[in-house]
């Protein structure tokens, strides 16, 4: 929980909400969180990954009461990702043991089809007894300034959270990257280019 303690790594965006009164906006924001709330992976199901919003200080809670979700000017919450990874090595071992037992019983090795079926069944069994790995990424959105911070640097996860927030809150997130800041300052490619003396000294162009 980087927001609560320790060092922080963050990716920043600008996210401006349409102007509306504070009371209706609060409720709308909490509803948006609830709509995309985290749901645990079903034990007997097929999915191996689940992701969604959870409360910042309680990663099993998805009520998003005002006291849990608002800290002064900030809306705070987390993005939880649960993954079940069936160990490939363990699956290979189980399949090898099953193949041996099959051969002992039927006095012949299993066919490719039989092995595929067995592998699928074994995988399901292992999946049912493998606990999910949980990762949580904090998010803080200053509703006055429009600054949204994701406490995460993994591009894949940042993209996923960005998409979830944009869809749930009907808002566009603008990263605070060199490209976007360059555009926001009204600069144009024709007028600001790489400095040759710094980027490729001694050469006339980038070769």
């Amino acid at each position: 929980m980087p927001l609560l303690k320790g060092s922080v790594s963050l990716t920043r965006f600008r996210a401006d909400l349409p102007h509306e009164n504070a009371a209706s906006q609060s409720e709308r924001l909490l509803d948006a969180l609830r709509l995309r709330a985290f749901e645990p992976i079903a034990v007997q199901g097929e999915e191996e990954r689940a992701a969604g919003f959870v409360e910042l200080e309680n990663h099993t809670a998805t009520d998003f009461s005002p006291t849990a979700a608002f800290q002064g000017d900030w809306l705070v919450f987390s993005w939880r990702v649960d993954t079940i990874r069936v160990s490939a090595a363990q699956l290979r071992e189980e399949l090898a043991a099953w193949s041996q037992a099959f051969e002992n019983e039927h006095e012949r090795p299993p066919s490719r089809f039989e092995k595929t079926e067995a592998k699928s069944a074994l995988r399901k069994e292992l999946r049912a007894v493998t606990p999910p790995t949980t990762k949580v990424y904090d998010v803080a959105w200053n509703l006055s300034t429009g600054t949204l911070q994701l406490f995460c640097l993994s591009r894949k996860v940042v993209d996923e959270i960005q998409a979830a927030i944009e869809k749930s809150f009907d808002v566009t997130l603008l990263p605070r990257s060199p490209q976007v800041l360059f555009d926001e300052q009204g600069l144009q490619d024709a007028h600001v280019k790489p400095t040759p003396e710094l980027c490729w000294p001694g050469l006339t162009s980038m070769i």
């Binding site: 609560l4 963050l10 400095t195």
Partner: protein
């Protein structure tokens, strides 16, 4: 052939004539092409020029600028990653408390390797922020926030929120300050020559 050349020949890096083999030349060109792509994507080159300018600027004891009425100073810390698009070396990491200000580092910068990521200390008045900044997206990594003033548990979260946002705003403000300089004739006519003089100093 020397022993080094013998080893290079055994690896297939050079031929009997001592020159790089076709495969080695192609691999190097592929690497440089990838480096050029990364350099151009999303104006990463601008982020690198920014960090390089910031290093030069940090040599001065003058404040970078004022932020909410307080002076901002910067110091580079113990680790830098430099990247380039031409030449045999396209990436270099230097480590050491004074590595950023070393002759080795200035030599690399003088030869087209710009700063891609750096450990920085930004001081805003009495507050210090230690973190790593990267040129590609201006992401802030492993930031150590200043000590909190409050002991109250509930207020601690808000104070951390305030400080992390302040750090992000600070980085953005310094970058925009750089962009404002970058768009003026002063960049080409004064600042770049001064940076080059600084890189060549002590030779």
């Amino acid at each position: 052939m020397s022993r080094r050349q013998d080893a290079a020949f055994a690896r297939g890096d050079i031929g009997v004539d001592g020159e790089a083999t076709e495969e080695t030349r192609e691999a190097a060109e592929v690497e440089r092409a990838r480096a050029r792509e990364q350099f151009l994507a999303g104006k990463t080159w601008l982020g690198r020029e920014f960090l390089t300018w910031l290093l030069w600027r940090s040599e001065s004891s003058d404040a970078l600028l004022e932020f909410h009425g307080e002076p901002v100073h910067v110091l580079f810390g113990g680790r830098l990653t430099l990247k380039g698009v031409t030449g045999d070396v396209i990436e270099l990491t230097v480590k050491g408390t004074e590595a950023a200000y070393s002759k080795v580092n200035r030599f690399a910068l003088e030869h087209g390797l710009l700063i891609h990521a750096a450990k920085l200390k930004l001081t805003l008045g009495e507050k210090e922020f230690d973190f790593t900044l990267d040129a590609q997206l201006l992401d802030i990594r492993s930031a150590k926030l200043p000590d909190l003033l409050t002991d109250d548990e509930d207020d601690r979260i808000q104070e951390r929120l305030f400080l992390s946002e302040r750090l992000g705003d600070l980085v953005q403000t310094v970058f925009i300050h750089f962009l404002e300089l970058r768009r003026t004739p002063e960049w080409k006519n004064t600042i770049v020559p001064e940076i080059l003089d600084w890189l060549r100093a002590d030779k």
